[in-house]
Symmetry: C2
C-alpha cells in the first residue's frame, strides 16, 4: 500500500513543479488516492556530461513519489542519447558514441545521489538503460511498433513542420525518436511518465503505444522547464545562467548568486524542500538576502550543512567583503625580479601583454603583502617579488608567489 494522504498528494501536485497532467489531473489524483502502487519513470538522455538544477528538480519530484511508496525508475537513455532528441533542435544532432554516453551516465549517477535515497532497502529507486531493449530490437519489432502510429501523427509535431518548412534537414532517424521514447514505456510497462513540457509529444506517442500494445492508460506528468519568466530562456552553460551539479560548493553558490532576481522563486519552489509559505515570506524580502538563503539551501542539499556554510563565507569574503579567498593558486618562480607584463602573462592573470598593459592602465592590478597593499600603475616596471606576495587582477583573479629555492 502507498501513502494516500490527500494533503501530501496535493502538496506534490500543486507545488508548481508539475504544470500539466494527461489525460487529466483529476484521474491521476484518484489513482494516487486509491492506494494502488504505480510505476513511475523519467528518462534522461545522457547527451552531456553534466546535469543542472532543472534536472535536479525532476529527481526531487520523483523522490517525492517514491516516498509515497510508488516504484520509481530513472531511465538513462543511453541508446536514445546516441541519436539525440530532435526536440528544440534546429539541426540534426551529432550522434554520440556508446563510450561517450556511458561515460556521461556514470557521472550523472554520482550527481543525483544526494537527491534520492538509493540505499533504501524496501523501495529503492531503480536505474534502467534503454539500450537494454532498444539495441536488441530487430526490424520485425520495429514494424510492429511502427504499424501502430501514422506518419501524419508524427508530422503533427510543430518542430518537425518548422524544420521541413525552413528547408532544414530532418533525417528519418530523428523522426523515429518519438517512437523509441514511446517504446520505453511499453518495455518497462509503466503507469506514469514524468517529463519536461517539451517532451509531451514524445510521451503521448508512448501513451498511444501503451494503449495499443498493452491496453493500458499511461499518465503523462509534465514538469516545468524553469525558464526565465522574463527572457523565456532555459538554464544554459553558454549563456552563463546554468547551475551545474558538478560545480564545487563555492562555484554552485556563486552560480546561484549570479541568477537574475526573477529566478529566485522558481528555484526555491523546484529545488528546495521549504514550504510554499516559507518561500513566500523569503522572496517578499530583499532579493540579495533571498538569494543568499536560496544558495545556501541548495548547496546544502548537494554538499551538506557544513560545506554550504563554508561556501557562503568564502563567497562573501571574495565578492562581498573583497577579502582574499582562503585558497589562492600558487605561482612558482625562480627569479625575484620580474617585468610586470611578463608576470601577468606567465601566471595567466592576463592572456596577452596587450591585455596586461590595459589592466594596469585601468588600475586593476594590485600587489599585496601581509602588511601592505599597493596598486601597480606603471606597466614598464619590474616587480621585486617575495614569498606569499599576492597579485590581484580585478575582483576575482589572484595568484600567490612562491619563490622556488634553486
Amino acid at each position: 500500500m502507498t501513502i494516500t494522504n490527500e494533503q501530501q498528494i496535493d502538496e506534490i501536485l500543486n507545488r508548481g513543479t508539475i504544470t500539466e497532467i494527461l489525460p487529466t489531473k483529476e484521474d491521476f489524483k484518484k489513482v494516487l488516492l486509491s492506494g494502488k502502487k504505480l510505476r513511475f519513470y523519467i528518462g534522461f538522455d545522457a547527451t552531456s556530461p553534466t546535469l543542472h538544477l532543472s534536472h535536479a528538480k525532476n529527481i526531487i519530484l520523483m523522490e517525492k513519489f517514491r516516498k509515497l511508496g510508488h516504484e520509481v525508475i530513472i531511465l538513462f537513455g543511453d541508446f536514445t542519447a546516441r541519436i539525440g532528441d530532435p526536440t528544440g533542435q534546429n539541426s540534426t544532432r551529432k550522434q554520440l558514441s556508446r563510450k561517450e554516453v556511458l561515460n556521461n551516465v556514470k557521472k550523472w549517477k554520482k550527481l543525483i545521489e544526494p537527491l534520492m535515497n538509493f540505499k533504501e532497502k524496501k523501495n529503492p529507486p531503480k536505474i534502467k538503460y534503454n539500450s537494454d531493449w532498444l539495441s536488441k530490437m530487430r526490424t520485425e519489432d520495429w514494424i510492429e511498433i511502427e504499424s501502430k502510429i501514422t506518419v501524419p501523427r508524427l508530422l503533427e509535431r510543430d518542430m518537425f513542420q518548422k524544420r521541413i518548412s525552413e528547408g532544414k534537414p530532418l533525417f528519418v532517424h530523428e523522426f523515429l525518436y518519438p517512437l523509441m521514447q514511446g517504446y520505453d514505456s511499453v518495455a518497462m510497462d509503466v503507469d506514469v511518465e514524468v517529463c519536461g513540457t517539451d517532451q509531451i509529444f514524445n510521451a503521448l506517442v508512448g501513451r498511444d503505444l501503451m494503449e495499443k500494445i498493452k491496453g493500458k492508460n499511461k499518465f503523462v506528468v509534465a514538469v516545468t522547464l524553469m525558464e526565465n519568466p522574463k527572457t523565456g530562456e532555459l538554464m544554459s552553460k553558454s549563456k552563463g545562467t546554468g547551475i551545474f551539479l558538478n560545480a564545487s560548493p563555492l562555484e554552485m553558490y556563486g552560480q546561484i548568486m549570479a541568477q537574475p532576481d526573477e529566478m529566485i522563486e522558481i528555484l526555491f519552489v523546484n529545488n528546495t524542500y521549504l514550504s510554499l509559505e516559507e518561500i513566500k515570506k523569503i522572496v517578499s524580502g530583499n532579493p540579495r538576502d533571498a538569494k543568499a538563503i536560496l544558495a545556501r539551501e541548495i548547496v546544502k542539499i548537494f554538499y551538506g550543512e557544513k560545506k554550504a556554510e563554508e561556501a557562503e563565507n568564502e563567497f562573501n569574503k571574495i565578492y562581498r567583503d573583497r577579502q582574499l579567498p582562503s585558497e589562492i593558486e600558487v605561482f612558482e618562480i625562480e627569479q625575484k625580479k620580474y617585468p610586470v607584463l611578463d608576470l601577468l602573462c606567465d601566471s595567466k592573470l592576463a592572456s596577452s601583454k596587450k591585455e596586461a598593459k590595459r589592466l594596469i592602465e585601468g588600475g586593476g592590478v594590485t600587489k599585496k603583502t601581509k602588511d601592505n597593499e599597493e596598486k601597480i600603475n606603471n606597466w614598464k616596471q619590474e616587480i621585486l617579488l617575495e614569498d606569499n606576495m599576492v597579485i590581484q587582477v580585478g575582483k576575482k583573479k589572484f595568484i600567490k608567489i612562491k619563490i622556488k629555492v634553486k
Copy 2:
C-alpha cells in the same frame, strides 16, 4: 568478360520493355560496352500466390542480361512482402504471415523456371531472400540507414502526399518501406536494379543509400508495366484481364485470346522472343490471327511446342468450331430421371433454380448424345439421362453424365 556486342545490347535497351534508365541510358550503355561484369537484381514481393505476364517479362529481360554474362539476382522480398509496398495502395495493406509469404515464394520459383536457365553451371541466376538481412537488422542498423535519408525526401512521394491529404491513414512502417527496398541494394552490393516504373522512387532511395554507404553509382532500369494503352489499366485478376503463369495451357491460351486488341503488340514485345520486325509484320494483319500467333508463342514458352499446339486445337474446338472439348467434367448420378432445374443446379451448371429457368428460357441449354443434339425448352420437364450424355450451357459450360451402378 561479358558480351559487348553493341547490336545485342541495343536490342535489349531499345526493344521497348525498358522505359527509362537512371541516371542516364548513355552511361549505362557505356558500362555495358566496357565488358565489366555487373550485378543486376530485380525484387518481387511475394504478396500473392501467382505471377502474371508482366512479371514474366521482367524475368525474360533479366535472362537477357544474364546471357550477356552478367550476374543476375532474383530477390524474393519475403520480408518486405509482409508489410507490402504502399505503392499504388489507397489504404494500408494487410500484413502477411511468414508462412503465407514462403508458400507464395515456393510457387513463384516454379512459375519462372521456364523463363530462366537455372541449370546453367557457369553463370546461373541467383535467388535471394531479403529476410536474410532485413530480419537480422537491429535498431542501431536502422538508425545508421535512416540517418542517411531525410523525412521530406520520403514525403516527396506523391502517393504518400495523396494519402495524407485525403486523411487516409499512412502508418510509419509503410513509410519505411522505401528504406527497406533501398537497403536491399546495399546488402547485395548491386550495380543495377531493374524495377517497374511504379518502383522508381524506392529504387532511387536505394541509389541514394548505395552512394552514401558504399560510394557506388547504382543504375536504375525502369521497365514498362504493360498498361492497356486505351484504359491505362494494369493486368488484373478482378477485371478479367490477367494472364497468369499458373494457368493451364488451355486457360493461358484463352486468357491471351481474351485480351483486347490494343494489348497484342505490347504482349508480343515483352513476352515473346520474336524480333521487332517479325512482330510488326504480324500485328499489321488480322488481329484475331495475330492473337492466335501470340497465344501459341507464349504458351510455348511455358509449356513447350506440343502443349501449345494442343491448347490451340482445344481452344478452337470449343470457341471457334463450337465442338465439344476433349475433357468434360463428369457428373455422377444414381437415378436416371432428373427434373431439369435440379440437374442444372446440382451439377453447378447454374447457381440457382431461377438462373436455370432463365437459361432454359433463353435457349442456352442443350442435351447431346453421340447421335443426337436437342435444345431443352421446357424448364418443367424431367430428363431421361443416359451414360455419356452431355449437357451444355451457353458456349463454355459442359457436364458429362455418368450413371452410377448401385
